[in-house]
């Protein structure tokens, strides 16, 4: 028994709706499959490179972390550097509470800049304090990170290391020097920096 023309036209909107629903579901399934199939992303900037050996990427927002301390370095043959160590909340809490070892999830950032003389400051300071010299930040050199994960980084004291210059990680040879350099600080969970009062 054939359909009457009237009933055929009446059936079309329903069929179109059904096809739309099928298309929508198909699209959703394909999207989910695509996301699931993506390789796992490292923490931080998913599309940025990670440090060799440790796989550490630049943590989001590290520049806005709280201050641990400040340091100066006279690098023989290279000049002066000004340095700041910043910590995420887990690291800062551990520093303040004297918690050792640092808990998993603690991250310490060490930002390094060149140091330059500040003529403006010197002119001002020289008036009340003759001979005083002021040195301020010049330009970025590199930024280093220590990430605590006692399982993942068990063979290096629980810490993963990273050294970035202009957003790019250093090479493997550089990263092979990180942990051995920190071994002398073993009694303080391999961390040299002390929290500044």
């Amino acid at each position: 028994m054939g359909r009457s023309p009237g009933s055929l036209r009446a059936g079309c909107p329903e069929r179109r709706n059904r096809l739309k629903r099928i298309a929508f579901l198909l699209g959703a399934v394909i999207t989910v499959a695509a996301v699931v199939a993506l390789p796992p992303r490292a923490s931080g900037h998913p599309d940025e490179e990670a440090s060799p050996i440790y796989g550490v990427t630049i943590p989001h927002g590290y520049r806005d972390w709280k201050l641990i301390a400040v340091k100066r370095l006279f690098f023989a043959g290279k000049g002066e550097q000004l340095r700041a160590q910043l910590g995420n909340d887990i690291a800062i809490r551990a520093f303040k509470e004297g918690t050792l070892p640092f808990p998993d999830g603690a991250v310490i950032a060490a930002i390094h800049w060149t140091e330059v003389t500040s003529q403006d400051n010197n002119k001002v300071l020289d008036v009340p304090f003759p001979g005083t010299q002021s040195f301020v930040i010049g330009s970025p050199v590199n930024v280093q990170f220590m990430v605590k994960d006692s399982k993942k980084y068990a063979s290096t004291g629980g810490w993963g290391f990273a050294d970035f210059k202009d957003g790019k990680p250093g090479d493997k040879a550089l990263h092979q020097t990180c942990f051995p350099c920190h071994i002398p600080a073993k009694d303080r969970d391999y961390v040299f920096t002390r929290y500044a009062p």
Copy 2:
């Protein structure tokens, strides 16, 4: 026409309720009046001393503010100092966006420490970088604040100043030197410090 005993007893709960409401309202009015009559509290720690001239107290939680920059000072006759400038959110946003003048509510903290040699660090750094010397924070010297309020501090470029040592503000003579010292930075809203990248 007198009230019957029955009606008197019936009237008492209503009267008690009315009295309770009056007492409550009276108490509320007295409380509000007391609060309004209190002298205005300076920001920060209400019971701590404020800086002379400007009335600035130590802002709560300044040690956990975000980092603006790091500086080193060679103080003729006094030795080296390591310094960090931290900012509250209003100040940090202004630095990042290059906003001048700084908005009201911006506060900049400048923490000063002595600098000491780090033998531990030197031993470690000398291996890969012979002759390198590391200088770390020794002990606190003082902490200074600049508070932006363009109306309250109109006569000093919109800034209130404070210098604290061991939690105590310096004397009036010291605070009289703050603004004149900052005048050379007038084209940057009297702020010397630049945001470190």
